[in-house]
Amino acid sequence: MEINLLLLFMIAAAVIAVAVKDLLSSVIAVGAVGIGLSMAFLVMKAPDLAIMQLVVEILSLIILIRATIRKDLPFSTSGRWAFNTVSTVIFLAVFLAFAYFSFAGIHKFGSPLMRVSQEYLSQAQARTGIQNVIAAITLNYRAIDTLGEAAALFTAVVGVLTVARKIWRREDAKYESR
């Protein structure tokens, strides 16, 4: 199936992104994961998500490249490196094993539970007049979620402006000279 091949491609790109030493190569490998995710959304019949993922991927790639302009590559292997890595891998293996057995409790891949969504699908066009059911849910049924999303974006912009403000640096210099 295509989705499994795309997932294997994404896993390979993610392993490269984690393992490679150069930060710029790592960021570009993350871009490959994002493009694979966009194609996976397209295969999974979610075209709106594919477009949104592509735009968000390009923006976050620009932001991450801006952050990796500074060349700083700490690769200290001091401390209990082997012990820490082995314990982390064991923890993740236990996590994956539990997850694999707990997947027996949810419905099979390809046959979704659609209790609420069936209502949306059958009535969205008559009640809202929107052809795209995703837009109907996002903007009509769950518009309060979209309001929360806008609030989160506004908070992020305010946070970034607060953290990266220029005027604080003069105050910092004054404070340190005291």
Binding site: S26, V27, D48, A67, F109, V116, I134, D145, Y175
Partner: protein, 112 residues
């Protein structure tokens, strides 16, 4: 079932990156990979075999559409993940200006 498991493997790779790496940019990358895996899991849960995308056309009324509710939720989550990445990168750049390094084990001086 194997598709769910591969998605969880992608999540585990991101978690390994967050737990074991010392570079802040690598940690941000790991958080991004975890976000990708969770968004994909939302869409995988709502997929129906041989389904079509939930958009009505004028001349066809097919009822085997995929679940639109997880897609709508994931649409919100993608935009919020962008703002999370923006915030983390701003803090990382500020830390670099303060301490001159991205290594989290060297950021241990209390200042201010």
């Amino acid at each position: 079932m194997i598709t769910y498991f591969l998605c969880l493997v992608l999540f585990a790779i991101g978690l390994f990156c967050v737990v074991r790496k010392r570079n802040i940019i690598k940690i941000i990358i790991g958080i991004g990979i975890m976000e990708y895996a969770i968004n994909l899991f939302f869409v995988l849960v709502g997929y129906r075999t041989h389904g079509r995308s939930p958009i009505f056309a004028r001349d066809q009324m097919v009822t085997n559409m995929v679940d639109p509710l997880p897609q709508s939720v994931a649409l919100t989550a993608i935009v919020i993940s962008l703002s999370v990445t923006l915030m983390l990168v701003a803090v990382a750049i500020r830390i670099y200006e303060r301490y001159g390094t991205f290594d989290i084990t060297k950021i241990n001086r209390l200042k201010g």
